[in-house]
Symmetry: D2
Subunit: 344 residues, 4 copies
């Protein structure tokens, strides 16, 4: 069995990855690391693992040494050196943080306030949105797993952009995320009595996923795309839903666009285009690796509205990382990811 | 004391109006009506009224006869005839439904599927957004109390539109509402296990508040305004937050716009403009008649983002109706509405 | 592959059973029935099944004819005749309703207001709590799958009762359930704005699970057990937690009781006894077939407090039914039920 | 106007007290203190106070100097010295913490791990449950405002205990509280994704409210009362509901007990006894100073079940403190507390 290591296993993304990989038929999780909990069983940190695994948190170095595939689930700026070590040792590295998502170091510095620590490594990495880059991913050992918000927006717009159907100068992306997206760190905004029964945007006009979205959409369009991206925090645990507004270049027929989407994604196991008239909802995708998309026009029929939704912890993080691993290792793309959303 | 009647007192808007009016210092609720609960105490229907009032539901006719001010909280199409009777009898009528909100009967027929039953009455009604129409409201006996979504959007955009600062051809209004907006009627979408832990838009491109928004914004702009309006359902009880995207005609300075808003609303007791850098949140306004507005630019500084939030049951319905009543009766505009949001 | 049929597939229990069985490695769901949705795809009723199954709702008769194992997920009083037909045709029938749970027809009539329609069949049925009746279940074709509340209480008390350690005359069972326990039927109590942000007991002193609990506990104790059982409704979707208060016959040593529980359940794959000092929580078991139990004393050390928690839809319904099926068919008891609770 | 000071105004109890007092017709909040936010406007800490008050946090000493009535909302152990200073200066002091709730210093030391710092002061304090001690409160300048859980249990049992109707050796109090009870301090248990959609007890058999409950119930019974008290944390913001199980000394007639309760509380403005057959619910009391009580028997009619519910922040803290102030100052007991629960 392929030996898997998770670096940063006690954060939310790491813990979700562990949960999913423990049910994967073709791999074995061989080692975990955590800065804060070295020497402790993961089931001490998350009781849901009691009697499911007795893995103990080790150092990152141990994990790299023991494993064939290394997943890094770390705050930005901490993955590059680990990735270097992994790649130098002929391992596969899938980074679930932001370190390899932007190709431009200038852009990275502008939004993240620091330079690349391993600039040479970046050219070897591939942006791990399988529906966009599957062939490149197959050949690659270093994956930049996409951000959660960008995944919804990129999958939602790809058929329109690849077919040059919409204007590129101001696409509005109004996105809403559950609170797991904010991670395990305690903040007043995620203190239960403060977040429950309320709703608000955050980082308006300034969220770090903006350059990732613009770079990837520009690649799809083969031209510069500008977006206005506003994230909001929902008082639920899981799920992202993006409502995307774009202007068609020419008069639009919604049936044709719908057919285009169905055709575009017909071989993609995780992208589901809803029938016209239905509306995508977070509950369609919760606890799955699926992306559900529904298509709409405004009342004057001159504006396309794309609704795109995923589970932020799965297709937006851990599940997409496993999908990338499956592609690299030649497994079925859906291995370990055959998940059906609970209806309630 | 002025005698108040509520027609449709057992719906959510009617019940909220009753709760607020029971604490109003200058009026007395004298009669209630309900189609489904005639003869029953309102405290049988809503236990929160136990030992607070012993009012009993009567017929609508009784209410009109007994009272000086009639509030109608009814599904569309049912208020016109009652309003006729009230006005003919020199009473004041404040309609919290949709019957008098649109000035064009054609537009009304297109969106609501029926014609006006009292067309002559419509010219006597005023759209009851006090921040827009205060002087007209003072002179009027028949008020069309605004819809909840329109209130957020109209207050959010009025200073920009009155000053001709933005383009009018496609304003994006991405709005999110708590579930009380859907009322007391049982539906699968508001069944707890179906609505909890999820989020989705509804009536995309087709919500009946669209023509109301467009008519009022056009009045403000003195020119035709087009909007794309998408409502979403939040898994919370109360509150609407609208994220509004608009394009300035010329290069924008956010400080100047902020000053404009502060100045524009400086005499309005219920509109609060947040300091630049802060973001409006539903919890700022829950259980109050306030509207909180925050102002933002996107990262390229070429798109204005207005965040506007109210309590849908109060400023979006019952509270605004009381505000209109206060204005008509010459009371302090804030009488009965001096509410402070619970912090949690 | 064994052919499975679900009668009542569009209710919450039926739908959850379908979701779990679609991932079971050794069976095939061959047919579904529903009174309200005959002829419709199940994915029309529950969108989470879109692209996961194209099964269509048929009549109950068709299901019995086509399948080897019949699961009935029906309101009480409707399963007996179907079970008769299944058993007569040498099929296996697992009833997830209440029809076969009580051995006494008088007791059944007292609590459910009707008599048995197939009284002869009842002697052939076994109460399907595997931790109590595993050997009997292996030999049986007709299973009375336990109620959700009873499962928590029975698993929580079995080691104490089998070892005659507690008094039997008044055990207090204070139980709290998520709203899925109320099913898919619309009621004002489960209307989102009415149930959100509140909490209350229901059917105090009068819930129909009471005689089931008392009968099973009496079997365990080999003596008459009396309980006071109070169910409460939690504003969450899934999970039941019962806080159970009982008086030891003699002075208690908590460490010894804890060892007793660990030993009693050491071969049971789904019952987890938490270390002393930890407290069972619904999040330990959500979306799994597990039961977590923690053990405590009050501050004077003279009262045992057992906290027992399950997912009401899985160990409390669909999952336990599959566990029973696995036992009857000679599969691994955990087949299709190797589920790890999401940590968040 | 009477000048009010709040010491510890930035905690949840202090902030709620401020919110309520700003609407009180006969007092003026003159000063606030906070250790962490000295020099800052309270509206910086809680945006709900924006444009409602411009009070600035000062030192505790300043507050005592400026005000006539001092409310202390502090962690245990910090109020005694402040109370001393207030009393020495002929001020009124209402302590919302635990410092003066227990009469026995030994008991205090056992549960809180420290001794009294002002032991002489304790004999001057009165336990501020108005329904029990109204006459004493009128004469007193130092109030120990009751804990939130104890308030529900003491009001729920007082008529039974005062009339010697129940056994005293083991009353079971199964209590459930919203998360505001845990305060503003960040913990992993109140991190939104950890607390949402779950439910569990905490501090089983060991909560510090236990001795307060036992002391007060013993006073009522004029004999030693023992309780088993288990608090649970509900995924809601506000409200406590206690389900209380007690054994009658003799055969019980529920109608008689109900009449007894109605009569016992007939002059108490905040205690509401529901009609027989109805069940108290947190939504009856949210955002009010009310306590709702419903009465039940188990199915064998040999165990009384009392359901008692309050808003933990109001009748369980800030509202009850105002009620005590009203009594001491000779105001109407309901001044500033005429609150009606929102129905949704």
């Amino acid at each position: 069995m392929v030996k898997i290591g998770i670096i940063g296993a006690t954060g939310y993304v790491g813990a979700e990855l562990l949960r999913l990989l423990l049910s994967h038929p073709k791999v074995e999780v061989a080692a975990l690391s955590s800065v804060s909990f070295v020497g402790q069983e993961i089931s001490n940190v998350y009781k849901n693992f009691l009697n499911k695994t007795d893995l103990i948190c080790e150092s990152a170095d141990e994990v790299v040494k023991k494993c064939d595939v290394i997943f890094t689930a770390l705050p930005h700026g901490l993955s590059e050196d680990i990735a270097k070590k992994a790649i130098d040792n002929k391992k596969i590295c899938i980074d679930m943080g932001a370190d390899f998502r932007l190709s431009s170091e200038d852009e990275y510095e502008e939004w993240y306030g620091k330079k690349f620590t391993q600039p040479a490594l970046h050219s070897k990495s591939v942006y791990g949105l399988p529906e966009l880059n599957k062939e490149k991913i197959k050949q690659c050992s270093l994956i930049a797993n996409p951000g959660c918000f960008p995944t919804t927006i990129e999958l939602g717009l790809m058929p329109l952009l690849k077919n040059s159907l919409i204007k590129l100068d101001n696409i509005i992306c109004d996105s809403k995320s559950g609170t797991t997206g904010a991670g395990r760190g305690l903040t007043i905004n995620t203190h239960f009595p403060e977040e429950n029964e309320t709703f608000a945007p955050y980082k308006v006009g300034a969220h770090r996923h903006t350059p990732e979205i613009e770079e990837t959409l520009s690649t799809m369009a083969n031209d510069k795309v500008n977006v206005t991206f506003t994230p909001h925090l929902l008082p639920i645990n899981r799920g992202i839903l993006s409502t995307i507004y774009c202007s068609p270049k020419n008069k639009v027929n919604l049936e044709e666009i719908h057919k285009l989407y169905l055709d575009f994604y017909k071989d993609e196991p995780f992208v589901n285009i809803l029938p016209l008239g239905e509306i995508a909802s977070i509950k369609n995708v919760r606890l799955t690796n699926d992306c559900f998309i529904s298509l709409h026009l405004n009342h004057r029929q001159d504006q396309i509205i794309v609704v795109s939704t995923i589970d932020n912890m799965i297709k937006g993080a851990a599940g997409q990382a496993i999908q990338n691993m499956n592609i690299i290792l030649g497994f079925n793309e859906t291995d370990g990811l055959n998940l059906i959303a609970p209806a309630f």
